[in-house]
Amino acid sequence: MRFTSLAFLAFAALTVLLYYLFPKAKRWWVLLVADYVFYFFAGKEFLPFILFTTLVTYSFARWMQALTDRESRYLEEHRDSLSKEERKAVRSKYKTHRRWVLVSGAILGFGMLAILKYTGFIVSIFRSSGIPNLILPLGISFYTFQSMGYLIDVSRGKVAAERNFFKTALFVSFFPQLVQGPISRFADLEPQLIEGHPFDSFNLRAGLLRAAYGYFKKMVVADTAMIAVQTLAARSDELTGGYVVLLILLYSVVIYGDFTGGIDIALGIAEMLGIHPAENFNRPFSSRSVKEYWNRWHITMGSWFTDYVFYPLSVSIPMQKLSKWSRAHLGQALGKRIPVYLATIFTWFLTGLWHGAGWNFIVWGLLNCLLLLVSQELKPLWSLWQTKFPKLCASTPWHLWQATRTFLLMGLIRSLDVYRNVPKTFRLWGTIFSTFNWGEIFSGGWLRLGLGIADYAVLAGGILIIFLVSQLGKAETPLRERTAKKPVLTVFLLGAFVCVILIFGTYGIGYNAGDFIYRTF
């Protein structure tokens, strides 16, 4: 069941209706049933995998909780008889025990993801034929990460394990965010899922507006641009030079409209149910540095890797030992960098791998890492520049230049995702500077990419609307919330969205861009 299908619209509407028709205490059951109905129609062969993840998540979380409870009971019962050291030893023993349970659970959870997603890739490194083609269940990267994040939180004692299996199942499978996130935290999402929210017409309006805007971004903007991107990718041997720049620009539009649009649909539906999962974007294309970009783009994934990979790795015992050793042998300046940089490289390697099983994803992750490390190293120079030219650095044109530079850099390395072949992508990047075919592009080449003038006009209009909404969204109260307070205006805007999407949207026979890109990650 695709988000962009009429069947999904009917399904979502029915879920919202049933949710509010049920007594508050039973509403979470409606969500759970809806999750599994959605997943069943997405592919019933995927069901065993999500059930396995749920079972692992539930049982290992309960196991760790039992250890924590036993530890507390023991310490309570022996409060007067244990010395400080003995108490420390008991805590340490239980911590080690929990860690082993966590590692076992993670091996099972991540192991299934690794087998299904990466077996083919690993085998392909060693041989060129007989590569297994395993199924990749819908949203597996998202629900595995969300579930494993919960297990880590339980092991750290940040949250108590859920006692009800079905409630755990609901957390793992909440359907709006199953396809492409956001990757929520248990402490944030679970209470909202279980609580029976009262009907609130404001939530309904705000959610509808958000979902409609998401559909607009996906179907009118992203899928239209995707037609040209597909042509550029399919004919990449001949469409070099300026066409590569065109692809970088258009694919940036595609990925933005597709991913943020999909998240808007997911969060919009959740909002109609009174649920507010974590935000995943904060006007990422206005970022003035790569670091800022990654604080604004796919926020929940970034914070997941930071909290569950980067920080634990940075403060791990081997890293501390490495830090000590490198400071002693390589000096303070370089010595303190090495463990941080190693943790950064490993985190970005995993981030790339999370996106897909392919060298292009790994190289993409490592290039992001490289950009971040280089900007980190250039920080003193940048500070010097700021001191010398304070007025320039505070000016709008300078900020615009920074945002454009970041946008182009991120777009450039993102094109690895389109060409899906690292040496070829590098070669094509080279042609930007060696093949000057802008004349050909402007004299009609741009109209031979599957889009006509009318399509480009729609695209330009769509981008302009997204830009304006983004600018208006800077205010303290988001534009959508301000609008949703006015019911008549909301109905009018929804009607306008419906008309625009129906007429200018890219869908139906002849178009195959219906799926969301992040659905495949």
Partner: protein, 346 residues
């Protein structure tokens, strides 16, 4: 406070009504008009402009009916009032549902079904489906026709609301789309689509051999449904095969034998006009516009004259020219038919 709420509801309702009207208008605007070039897409819609006229005979089938029989000739020569509900590659279930649709308006005395489309047992082609179904008036019959006809890649919803299919036509709207936005005047002559060109049939090549000559079970089931529906409504069902038989559209003897058996078993009349071509007076060097695939107006008039006699003599269809009201209606149709023919032949 209550007044403000009421005002809000009214304003929202007004916006929703306007939205619905706008979508209906857009739906109408974006639907292909089939007025110039490919006019076959208008054939289903044309019928609804003539539902008030009494029709003794209803022709059903694919292009072999709407290019082979001319209702104005049938009226002029025999006083038989008829209508053709045929479309390009109209599949047998579409013929069945168009018969059901017709029965919502009238009950003809005779249904003439051209058997060529029986060779298709599964949905074939979106473009032909669209031309047959899009302009069918909404009814449970239409829903059944859509369900039976759509190919795997098509969506049911897009037939209920064709805007979902034709939305991207906003880029290719022409003057026709605005001129014929509300114009429902017919392009055909009671379902007959006039072609006056001549392209002689030069090949006498027979169709390629088949591995299986059985007519598909599904299409024979619909033929049976059609027979039963006619029986229930007191209509005589006549089976025909038009006289055209070019190698790409070959009518195999084995198929003919199956239809003969079916007709004999159920007491139906079956006229295969292929071996009758000479008797009819058809000359395939002058009576076809596309090398023998279809008849042109000259061929169609000859066949209609021949078949009219059969209808009169074998099936007892009354001459209705005494009915002044009906005569007046047909007079207009005949004049329009003659004018178009003369215009095209000039």
């Amino acid at each position: 406070m209550k007044q403000i709420q009421l005002k809000r509801w009214l304003a929202a309702a007004a916006i929703l009504i306007l939205l619905a009207l706008l979508l209906c208008a857009l739906n109408r605007l974006l639907l292909p008009k089939y007025r110039s070039g490919n006019t076959e897409g208008r054939l289903t819609a044309d019928y609804y402009t003539d539902v008030k006229t009494r029709h003794q005979v209803l022709f059903l089938g694919d292009c072999e009916v709407y290019e082979s029989f001319t209702p104005p000739t049938l009226w002029e020569e025999y006083g038989i009032s008829s209508y053709i509900r045929g479309n390009a590659q109209q599949l047998v279930w579409q013929s069945y549902y168009l018969l059901e649709d017709t029965l919502r308006y009238e009950t003809p005395e005779v249904v003439v079904f051209n058997v060529y489309a029986l060779k298709y047992g599964t949905p074939q082609n979106e473009a032909y489906n669209r031309m047959t179904l899009d302009s069918m008036k909404f009814s449970p019959v239409k829903l059944s026709a859509i369900r039976a006809s759509i190919t795997e890649e098509e969506s049911f919803a897009s037939y209920l609301f064709p805007l979902l299919r034709f939305h991207s036509r906003w880029k290719e709207l022409t003057q026709d789309d605005f001129t014929y936005l509300f114009d429902s005047s017919p392009v055909s002559h009671n379902g007959y689509l006039m072609k006056t060109g001549v392209e002689p049939m030069t090949s006498s090549r027979a169709g390629s051999p088949l591995t299986d000559y059985s007519l598909p079970v599904s299409s024979m089931e619909y033929l049976e449904k059609m027979r039963l529906l006619c029986l229930k409504n007191g209509i005589e069902l006549i089976l025909v095969k038009s006289p055209t038989n070019s190698w790409g559209y070959w009518w195999y003897d084995e198929w003919d034998a199956q239809i003969n058996d079916y007709a004999a078993k159920n007491g139906l009349s079956y006229y295969n006009f292929i071996p009758e071509a000479e008797k009819i007076g058809l000359d395939f060097t002058t009576d076809t516009y596309d090398a023998g695939v279809h008849l042109n107006v000259s061929g169609a008039e000859k066949l209609t004259s021949y078949f009219g006699k059969i209808l009169r003599e074998n099936h007892g269809l009354e001459d209705l020219r005494f009915d002044s009201g009906l005569s007046a209606v047909w007079q207009e149709k005949v004049v329009r038919y003659q004018q178009e023919k003369e215009g095209l032949l000039k």
